[in-house]
């Protein structure tokens, strides 16, 4: 279909065009007004910094990424597990859910210092901070999903004498999968934010330095182009995490869920 294909083209071309125009305007404004680079570097200067500082920044990125991915994995396992426990016992859900919310609404910046004091191992401290931010969307979404099973299908399972385990495995878990994946996509971004916030609070702590610390450091030294370069890498990472999780979601749901079906297909 022609309309469909051109739409797909625009999906890539439009954001690229907007970005390009934005960078051009930025470059022109900086050059014409002679804005000093310690206030606002031009895209060109940032690109140069990205090239020269790239290798060392990538090393820092790996540190941050390790924390992020470990936190996301922990959030997936523990968040999913807690949601399953909630679905098995309503009392458990009623008792613990408010505390999960409490953990979620407490700003991580405020409790990160405590966690860093309590947890001696720096990597683990960062991991805990990122996990606290990342796990709630998974718990909340998966819990809703597990409770959303079709009522007639539930009746059918009862009719055939299904055990709780069977109902969970064949009905509730598949029903919850799209909800879980939505939570996972949100958590992917949040885990990165959590890791960055924790690094900001922790400083170096005498260990390997993550990307967030490089941003702080560049700020102190007025190495603003490097700061922007690090920032750019950080958002790029966030986008890549989102895209990977989105792809995963589409692959898992491609046969049956509306969200994973191309508009043109219907």
């Amino acid at each position: 279909m022609r309309a469909g294909r051109s739409l797909r083209l625009w999906r890539v071309a439009a954001p690229l065009a907007v970005g390009f125009v934005f960078l051009c305007v930025w470059e022109i404004v900086v050059r014409v007004n002679g804005v000093p680079r310690y206030i606002l570097p031009s895209p060109h200067e940032i690109a140069v910094s990205l090239w020269t500082d790239g290798p060392s920044l990538l090393g820092s990125l790996l540190v941050t990424l390790r924390v992020t991915l470990a936190a996301l994995a922990a959030a997936t396992v523990l968040g999913g597990g807690i949601a399953v426990l909630f679905s098995l016992s309503r009392i458990l859900e009623l008792g613990f859910f408010p505390y999960a919310v409490m953990l979620q609404v407490t700003p991580i910046v405020a409790i990160a210092p405590l966690i860093i004091i309590w947890v001696k191992e720096p990597f683990l401290a960062l991991l805990v901070c990122a996990w606290i931010v990342a796990f709630f969307p998974i718990v909340a979404n998966t819990t809703v999903g597990l409770n959303s099973a079709d009522r007639n299908l539930l009746a059918l399972f009862r009719l055939y004498g299904a055990s709780r385990g069977q109902t969970l495995r064949y009905l509730k878990l598949p029903t919850a999968l799209p909800y879980f994946l939505t939570g996972l996509r949100i958590s992917g971004g949040l885990a990165l934010i959590g890791a960055v916030v924790a690094e900001f609070v922790a400083g170096t702590g005498g260990t390997e330095t993550g990307l967030a610390f490089r941003i702080l450091e560049a700020g102190y030294r007025l190495a603003i182009p490097r700061l922007f370069a690090a920032l750019f890498l950080l958002s790029l990472t966030g986008i890549v995490i989102y895209l990977v999780l989105d792809l995963l979601s589409r692959l898992l749901l491609r046969h049956w869920h509306e969200s994973a079906i191309d508009e043109e297909e219907e």
Partner: protein, 252 residues
């Protein structure tokens, strides 16, 4: 192992003083206005809901004793009620999977059932790839795959277009003629119920009662030709009159 006699009496607001015996191999339709508790009655028969009064009893076999095994009931809902994440085979295999045996013999059985409802070749399709009528066929195949003694259908064709509905009526009739499973069929279509049933129970609303219990003495096997026969028209008129009287009684 064939046949069910059932006595049932309930007295909630939804249903009141219902006595109903369902004989072995009968095709019984429950006809009535919406809100008359047809679905509730069906769910009670299935054991999905408990009556607040009275008792339901299932007799099995010549001795009339014993509990009916879970697998001996098939239920078809108003919606196809399929698992969207499973293929057609996954869906029809579900009763066996829950029973903890989904081996080659059961898969063979699923294949046979899918051929019987005219879905051969769609085994690996997902529900969203099928039309409404085909989804309903999957649902019927799932209900029949365990070879139930009692098949319960809750307005299964209400959401389908006329042409699909007639085709499915014929298919259901053919399936029933081949096995003589006891069927309880809920519908609000007089024409559908007369075409399919050996017996019709007309129900009234609030509280649901059985106002008339009519045997349908039409020749078998039945086919499309019946729909235009005068005999069929006369019985439809009788059932419609009963329904009208039942509703007039209520409003009086």
């Amino acid at each position: 192992m064939r046949g069910i006699g059932k006595r049932f009496r309930s007295g909630v607001a939804a249903l009141a003083g219902i006595d109903l015996d369902i004989g072995d191999g009968e095709f019984l339709s429950l006809v009535g206005p919406s809100g008359c508790g047809k679905t509730t009655l069906l769910r009670i028969i299935a054991g999905l809901a408990e009556p607040s009064e009275g008792e339901r009893r299932l007799s099995l076999g010549p001795d009339g004793g014993g509990r009916m095994s879970r697998e001996r009931v098939g239920f078809v809902f108003q919606d196809p009620t399929l698992m969207p994440w499973g293929t057609v085979v996954d869906n029809v295999l579900l009763p066996f999977r829950i029973a903890g045996r989904a081996g080659p013999a059961e898969r063979e059985r699923v294949g046979t059932e899918l051929r019987a409802v005219g879905l051969a070749g769609f085994e690996r399709a997902y529900p969203r790839e099928l039309s409404g009528g085909m989804r309903m066929r999957v649902s019927i195949a799932r209900a029949l795959v365990t070879d139930p003694d009692l098949l319960l259908l809750d307005e299964p064709f209400a959401a389908l277009d006329e042409i699909t509905r007639m085709a499915l009526n014929d298919d259901l009739l053919r399936l029933w003629e081949a096995r003589r499973t006891t069927v309880v069929f809920v519908t609000h279509s007089v024409f559908e119920s007369v075409y399919l049933s050996t017996r019709i129970a007309v129900m009234t609303a609030r509280p649901g009662r059985i106002a008339a219990d009519l045997p349908i003495e039409l020749p078998q096997p039945r086919d499309r030709g019946l729909r235009t026969s005068p005999n069929y028209a006369a019985i439809c008129a009788t059932v419609s009159d009963e329904l009208a009287r039942a509703m007039a009684d209520r409003s009086r």
